[in-house]
């Protein structure tokens, strides 16, 4: 615990210390609240980048960063604390370097792991306030359950496309938790991600900045047990930018995580011995619908169907990615048909509709099916075989991106 500020710290933080009207505390005590705080960010991506930059700049004493990914080219449009020269570096180490450059007063702890049932308590217990900046419901339920058991406030943000959401959970151990809002997980097919659905960097960044503002209110005790009211902010960037504040419910009495009257509440032991299985709870989409002999590798595709980068006359080539994905990068050959999976499914046995997209297709045709990562192509292969009886349909394992990785890196990945 530090009870004073250095001359350097006063000059560094002076402009925020002289802002009036936020608290009745004296400015030095307000700044010391930040200096003596320990926060941890789960994830070092699009939300965390601006969030931790502002919190480090503002003088939060200790910042933990949990992320086991490395910086990739496709991150840089939004994850602006990383940089082109740091590609391949662990994101948590890149973030640490950024913070040290910005404000050497901050103690940074890095954890190059994925938060899971076994490590969550040991890591999160080292900090006072937890920031959820992750990208799956699995980690959102886990971090909320652990925050409740450890009695810590959780500031939870998310975003995809042009929208974002932000809320403060388990505030001072009296506010609602993630399960109070979402007792049941969404079905797996309804969960979207930045990598699959895209994200505008500035939009997710703005949500990260708002997450920093909420964190300051928690750390500087501007929110109190008396004045805090559960809320959710909803941001949208396009067309007209808007920020909505929804008034949310309080704790659910029967919440299995935080409820006062719940039976069989979740315990640390139940999480650590994996009795609570978040993967099972949230489920996943089952792409495992093909036998091995219904699939070919990208190398087999190259050798058998794409020799010398040329299509074979009697083969039907199908790519089931969404049209706007296809338009960014493809084999650039007119023998390829782009019929997105959703459209293919909507044909429902109607050969006329199918032929309107692929005129040369017959029940006896040999078809090879691509998608981005080799998941939707499996479902599409099933559709062609089961709905249309095209027995000789082959799924390309790992899809177009695997082909780029293993065979032709000159094609762009997005």
């Amino acid at each position: 615990m530090s009870d004073s500020l250095t001359t350097e710290e006063v000059s560094r933080y002076g402009r925020q210390m002289i802002v009036q009207g936020l608290s009745t505390n004296n400015p030095i005590d307000q700044q010391l609240l930040l200096k003596n705080s320990k926060i941890v960010l789960i994830g070092a991506g699009g939300l965390s980048s601006p969030c931790l930059a502002y919190l480090a700049g503002a003088g939060v004493g200790t910042i933990g960063i949990i992320d086991d990914d490395v910086v990739e080219n496709s991150n840089l449009h939004r994850q602006i604390i990383h940089s082109t020269s740091k590609r391949g570096m662990l994101k948590c180490e890149s973030a640490k370097k950024f913070i040290n450059d910005l404000n050497p007063n901050v103690i940074v702890k890095t954890f190059a792991v994925r938060l899971n049932n076994e490590n969550a308590f040991d890591i999160l217990d080292q900090f006072d306030v937890i920031l959820d900046c992750t990208d799956t419901p699995i980690t959102r339920y886990l971090s909320s359950d652990v925050a409740v058991i450890l009695g810590k406030t959780l500031i939870s943000a998310s975003g995809v496309n042009t929208e974002g959401q932000l809320t403060v959970l388990n505030f001072e151990n009296i506010g609602p938790c993630y399960r109070c809002f979402h007792p049941k997980p969404p079905p797996p097919h309804a969960v979207s991600s930045c990598s699959a659905n895209g994200v505008i960097g500035a939009c997710i960044g703005l949500v990260g900045v708002m997450q920093a503002v909420e964190t300051l209110k928690v750390l500087q005790k501007i929110y109190t047990k008396e004045n805090f009211e559960p809320f959710m902010l909803q941001y949208n960037g396009f067309m007209d930018q808007s920020l909505r504040r929804f008034k949310m419910r309080g704790r659910r009495e029967d919440c299995i995580s935080c409820g006062s009257k719940a039976k069989n509440k979740i315990t640390r032991e139940m999480i650590e011995n994996s009795e609570i299985n978040y993967f099972e709870f949230c489920g996943s989409r089952d792409y495992n619908v093909l036998a091995d002999d219904e699939r070919i590798t990208v190398q087999e595709f190259e050798d058998k169907y794409w020799k010398d980068k040329k299509p074979k006359e009697d083969i039907v080539y199908l790519d089931v990615r969404p049209a706007h994905h296809y338009s960014i990068s493809n084999f650039n050959n007119e023998k390829f048909h782009n019929v997105p999976l959703a459209e293919l499914k909507s044909f429902k046995n109607d050969w006329t509709k199918l032929k309107s997209k692929m005129p040369e297709l017959e029940p006896t045709s040999e078809v090879v099916v691509f998608c981005r990562h080799g998941n939707e192509s499996r479902l599409a292969t099933r559709v062609l075989k089961d709905d249309f009886g095209i027995k000789n349909t082959k799924d390309v394992i790992g899809g177009f991106f695997k082909y780029i990785d293993d065979v032709d890196p000159s094609l762009p990945k997005y």
Binding site: G46, S48, F181, P183, P185, P187, R245, K345
Partner: protein, 104 residues
């Protein structure tokens, strides 16, 4: 023709994708037929606004209520603080549905 009321219905968090990519609808409904939020959802939204119900119904409705992962707001207030499906609609209400986001 009964007593009509005007309601704004919003689809946020990407949910507009199953409502013709439109985030906000101004609708006028017969208040003798559409009394509660349940009526609005099942007799109007799912029938009149939902695109391709045969494919998209389960993205919006599950087990006779709004599917998990979608928050419902009545005039910017969590419907759990109101009467959820039994909420009695008022003229000029704003009913918002927002899909929960997970990306980061």
């Amino acid at each position: 023709m009964g007593n009509n009321i005007n309601i704004v219905v919003e689809f946020l968090g990407g949910l507009d994708s199953i409502f013709d990519n439109k985030r906000s609808y101004k609708v006028e409904v017969d208040n003798e037929e559409i009394v509660t939020l349940r009526d609005l959802i099942f007799k109007y939204i799912a029938k009149e606004l939902l695109v391709k119900p045969e494919d998209n119904y389960s993205i919006y409705i599950q087990d006779d209520t709004i599917r998990p992962g979608i928050l419902t707001l009545i005039n910017d207030v969590d419907w759990e603080l109101e009467d959820e499906l039994d909420y009695v609609l008022q003229n000029r209400d704003v009913i918002s549905f927002t899909s929960t986001l997970h990306g980061g």
